[in-house]
């Protein structure tokens, strides 16, 4: 099977390539990158005026299978991902049952392999049932195929246990992804603490709820020399702490999500539960700091924190509704409009943060790059294509997005996974 993409601008940060070229995909691998490659029987796609990049890699996805297949499953998540330009996503372990043992890891791998149209990589829980009490069998899960471990959705409260998790996982070089939140400080809050929460009479989650644990985990990472990745950074203070840690050479990486550089807590006015997210949408100042972190490289990765919830679950009183929004279908367009178009970062940087670096952090060196012999996971992006994000067009099983009705410019038009076209606009 051969696929030839012609005349596109190839952006491949791993190999420092940013030029117009053809690229040939053969037998599921990248086989040639040059000008004027002759088709020789290959199916050809004309990508003139388009950007051709390694398929996007989301290192923070909630797939909901097993347990909440009414909200999302391997098939629908993978279709939403493909539409958003992603060729790889991860499955966060806060499912039901929790992915905290080899059995569930194997289930995710075998079940998704037959059904999903893109790659799904499982992430294992740090602690059994994500209860924060006992370590899960991290090494066995690693052997079964997890690419990272995380108690995402909740924070590992006990610093000693977090230390052990870092030390232990460092034995086999698996990154620990930390959801940083001091639950005592969050105190049942449902949105960002500030003027807006005061006006709405809603309980607030303060910035320090995140930054206190970011500071703790950086200290632990420095002490253990293990691989720490901080999930969904949302505050100014966290960005500052991570910047300092990196300056000191501590082994820490982090991600933010498109909503944190696009929206502020004022979106919650009107009590729209599709603006209820954890960590919460913060203030203008935080948003500015997040953009600053993306610009200077403090923030390594843009991830979606795609968190599907059914309409029935979301369409209730604000304080009772679950946290989370979907993000796979809007992440790339938001990054283009809010970061590239506004000259915060360049295209190379965007591809780096949404594809190359995630693959590096998770140790998947055949992904996130267009090196000869790498997996033929490719996205073709039309930077000028305009569209309105309408509810009826959402592929994800859940429709909980604060971006419904928003107009975008720029999106994935063809997504290719293992050499096969899995999405075409």
């Amino acid at each position: 099977m051969k696929l030839l993409i012609k005349n596109g601008r190839i952006i491949d940060p791993a190999n420092k390539i940013n030029r117009v070229s053809d690229i040939l995909l053969e037998n599921g691998k990248v086989s040639k990158l040059a000008k004027d490659i002759k088709p020789n029987g290959a199916e050809a796609i004309d990508a003139k005026g388009m950007i051709v990049a390694p398929g996007l890699f989301d290192m923070h996805t909630h797939v909901r299978q097993p347990g909440r297949e009414d909200a999302e499953d391997f098939i629908t998540a993978s279709c939403a991902a493909a539409k958003g330009g992603f060729t790889s996503i991860t499955a966060m372990p806060n499912t039901n049952p929790v992915c905290d043992n080899r059995g569930i890891v194997e289930y995710i791998i075998s079940e998704s392999r037959g059904n999903a149209i893109i790659n799904i990589f499982p992430i294992g829980a740090i602690t059994k049932a994500q209860k924060g009490e006992d370590l899960a069998e991290l090494a066995d899960m690693k052997d079964a195929g997890v690419v990272a471990v995380s108690d995402d959705g909740s924070s590992v409260k006990n610093a000693q246990l977090m230390r052990k998790a870092l030390e232990y996982s460092n034995m086999f070089n698996v990154p620990v992804i930390s959801h940083c939140e001091d639950l005592n400080l969050s105190q049942g809050g449902v949105m960002n603490e500030g003027l807006t929460s005061t006006l709405l009479g809603l309980l607030g989650i303060p910035n320090i709820s995140e930054s206190c644990i970011v500071a703790r985990d950086i200290a632990l990472a420095n002490f253990t020399k293990a691989k720490l990745h901080i999930a969904h950074v949302s505050t100014k203070e966290s960005v500052e702490l991570i910047r300092q840690a990196k300056e000191k050479g501590i082994n820490v990486t982090c991600e933010t999500c498109p909503h944190y550089f696009t929206l502020t807590d004022e979106t919650v006015k009107g009590f729209d539960t599709n603006a209820k997210i954890n960590p919460p949408l913060r203030t203008k100042e935080d948003r500015k700091a997040i953009m600053g972190g993306l610009k200077d490289g403090t923030i390594d990765v843009i991830a979606t924190d795609h968190a599907p919830h059914t309409e029935a679950d979301k369409d209730i009183e604000f304080d009772l509704a679950p946290f989370g929004i979907i993000g796979l279908e809007t992440a790339l367009s938001l990054a283009i409009n809010e970061l590239v178009d506004k000259k915060i970062i360049k295209w190379d940087e965007l591809i780096k943060k949404m594809s190359y670096i995630p693959s590096e952090i998770l140790g998947l060196t055949n992904k996130g790059r267009l090196s000869i012999g790498a997996d033929a996971d490719v996205v073709i992006i039309d930077p000028d294509k305009k569209f309105k994000f309408a509810k009826e067009t959402i592929v994800s099983k859940s429709k909980n997005s604060p971006f419904i009705g928003r107009n975008f410019k720029g999106c994935a038009v063809v997504t290719i996974c293992r050499g096969k076209v899995v999405y075409k606009a």
Partner: protein, 319 residues
């Protein structure tokens, strides 16, 4: 001006003119409650349903009397009897009530924003009777009505609100209304119960009761919710009484014509000493009396211009 809104969700939404319209309407309704026969036919044939998902005695009774004195039919649904306990969502409960053809739904709920959520999906008027820590518009209106009745004006008055500002919907509605009408508002309480950013509502913030009392025309004392103790917002009720309780001693520094207000229910001897609650400065029971008039005005303005259903047999849809 004419009343245009379908719902009353909070004083944040209202203009000064709208607030004044309600206050003026209320003052013409107040006299009805003083008559030997306390009833007028104004809202005959209208149906008002009270859905109190969080318990209340004062507000619910006040709304019920207000509706009845205008001849509306009322039905009250208390939290303990509603189907939400069987797992039905609030929206479904409300839609079911709507399907029985009603004109207004008065809702109290522990979740901020619940009335707004219903207002978006219901044709009948929705009146917020208190939603979480968000707003309690009719309480704000009756407080302002009482101040205006006693002082003759709102503009330029100094009003201090003391207590648990953070969790108080009464404080928020009072602040919105008073500021719009030109009063100077000060909020006072333990620093742990002052919500962040409140100074941006154009109020003065202080933790000194003495400062809040000095030169103020009105002192609105909030109920200290004893269950907040669990949240460790302050060390003990005893210490709260010492630092923030209002008694005759601290009031020595107050203006001679100060008004003492409290939205009730009072924790006697905690936030307010009995001799002050029952003393000459207190207008606490006037607030309750005025509450009925204000709620009559709200019901009248919201429902008065709507056509009563089924006054005439419908030409369509006969079986």
């Amino acid at each position: 001006m004419k009343w245009q809104r379908k719902d009353l969700l909070g004083l944040e939404d209202l203009s000064a003119d709208e607030i004044n319209l309600i206050l003026n309407t209320a003052s013409s309704f107040k006299e009805i409650s003083e008559r030997p026969i306390r009833k007028v036919p104004t809202l005959r044939g209208k149906t008002v349903v009270m859905l109190f998902v969080e318990p209340s005695t004062r507000t619910q009774t006040s709304f019920e009397l207000a509706a009845k004195r205008l001849s509306a039919d009322t039905v009250s649904i208390a939290a303990s009897t509603n189907s939400m306990q069987k797992g039905e969502t609030l929206k479904d409960t409300a839609k079911n009530i709507e399907a029985m053809k009603i004109d207004a739904l008065i809702i109290r709920h522990s979740s901020a924003g619940a009335p707004r959520m219903l207002a978006k999906v219901l044709t009948p008027c929705v009146i917020n009777a208190g939603d979480g820590s968000h707003e309690h518009p009719t309480q704000g209106l009756l407080d302002i009505f009482t101040i205006k009745e006693k002082k003759g004006r709102i503009k330029g008055l100094n009003v201090s609100i003391i207590g648990d500002i953070m969790h108080s919907r009464v404080a928020r509605s009072n602040i919105w209304g008073l500021i719009k009408l030109g009063a100077n508002v000060t909020v006072c309480g333990p620093s742990t119960l002052i919500p962040p950013g409140i100074e941006k509502m154009k109020v003065k913030v202080t933790t000194s009761v003495k400062e809040a009392i000095t030169n103020t025309d009105v002192l609105n004392i909030l109920r200290i919710q004893l269950e907040r103790q669990k949240g460790k917002f302050f060390p003990s009720i005893r210490e709260y009484m010492i630092k923030f309780g209002i008694d005759s001693e601290i009031l020595k520094g107050a203006k001679k014509d100060i008004l003492i207000m409290h939205p009730g229910p009072i924790n006697r001897g905690i936030e307010l000493a009995p001799e002050i609650a029952d003393g000459p400065y207190s207008v606490i029971l006037n607030q309750v009396t005025n509450g009925v008039a204000v709620r009559m005005a709200v019901l009248f303005l919201l429902l008065g211009k709507r056509k009563a259903p089924f006054l005439e047999p419908s030409k369509k849809g006969r079986f």
